[in-house]
Assembly symmetry: C2
Homo-oligomer: 216 residues x 2
């Protein structure tokens, strides 16, 4: 099976040195890519800036901004059977990037941010993707409500809900604890485990579900 996986944060520059980003380390996405590769899938990994070594045996596309990740997904989504969007793409970016480093002059600085491209939301509607579509919901409150909303609005087959407010799991942790949200099914919580073990479990589940979807 051909699987596209996105991973890591994106960086949205204010000027040549400063940027907006988030606490995603890319560990979960890289673990998913390794697990998918180990299971014999053909993997394309589209990665934001992370400090992890690039995994072997797959196509790795490195990007920095949400716009670049959007373009990379658009280019590589054709022909994929499954897409797993685990990257923590910035929702907002500065409207303009200053050409030179902004000097520390005024007491305050007002920054206007605009929405970035909605990559997961574009998969069905813009890119015409018909394969098995997996999103992640990283939330700090009302986790399952946000996850189910995402599932419906973006046409996902599965949303993996991740409470990033808890210490020891989620962003930049070695372990993770997630809940699977599927259309017309109760939320299914998985036990807390290392990201590598969780990735193997998720890839096994996704492999089965994606195969099942093809037979429908």
């Amino acid at each position: 099976m051909k699987i596209l996986i996105t991973a890591g944060p994106t960086r949205e520059p204010l000027d040549p040195v400063r940027y907006l980003t988030n606490r995603s380390s890319g560990k979960m996405g890289y673990a998913l890519a390794e697990a998918a590769h180990d299971r014999g899938h053909e993997v394309t990994l589209i990665s934001g800036p992370v400090s992890l070594p690039p995994p072997e045996g797959m196509i790795v596309v490195k990007v920095e901004t949400a716009r670049q990740m959007y373009e990379a997904v658009r280019s590589h989504l054709g022909g994929q059977d499954t897409a797993i969007f685990s990257a923590a793409v910035a929702d907002y970016r500065p409207v303009a990037k200053a050409e030179q480093k902004i000097k520390k002059t005024g007491e305050t600085l007002t920054l206007t941010l605009e929405k970035t491209e909605d990559i997961l939301g574009s998969a069905r509607s813009v890119f015409g993707f018909t394969g098995y579509l997996v999103g992640f919901a990283a939330e700090t409150e009302r986790l399952l409500e946000h996850a189910h909303d995402k599932l419906a609005r973006k046409g996902c087959d599965l949303v993996i809900a991740n409470d990033v407010s808890q210490a020891g799991i989620g962003f930049d942790s070695a372990e993770n604890e997630v809940t699977l949200c599927l259309p017309d099914a109760s939320p299914f919580p998985l036990p807390r485990q290392t990201k590598a073990a969780l990735a193997r479990e998720l890839i096994a589940f996704i492999t089965q579900q994606a195969a099942l979807k093809k037979t429908l």
Copy 2:
């Protein structure tokens, strides 16, 4: 000699997952700390979030925000002979940190930023530091003008000017090329070299100059 060194970027949170930061990798500051330790100095390293292994044989204080770095410097500056502020401290931070992850609702988002604490500028005036004071100026334009301005305004003995607009040197590069700016002297450019080699040269120079200052 006792040397305090700051290194790395700072992160200024918008909410539990998003933050403002900059491209500093901490490599230059960590190389300076290693070089100072190798020369037999007693080193205190105050580091922002970096993906480098913590160096051996010195006190390492890890911080995240500009305010935390300010407090850590305030706590550790007493009794130091030399202070090298190589960290790329955020100049501005969001006025308020949202308790929960900001949801993607409006088309635009306005962020009000306020100035952070001026750590280098506080060394003499607030912390009463009388030792040898070294600042860094990381600029993308009018480098020496900014560096000399910093030298005078902040009471530095030395400002190390670093053009971060050039590819291959400065932030997140393995190599660096800097110019030494001293009061009442012409700018003194050093050749481009690895950060480790440059750190040894800078520590040798600073050791001599700091000893010289003590005899005055």
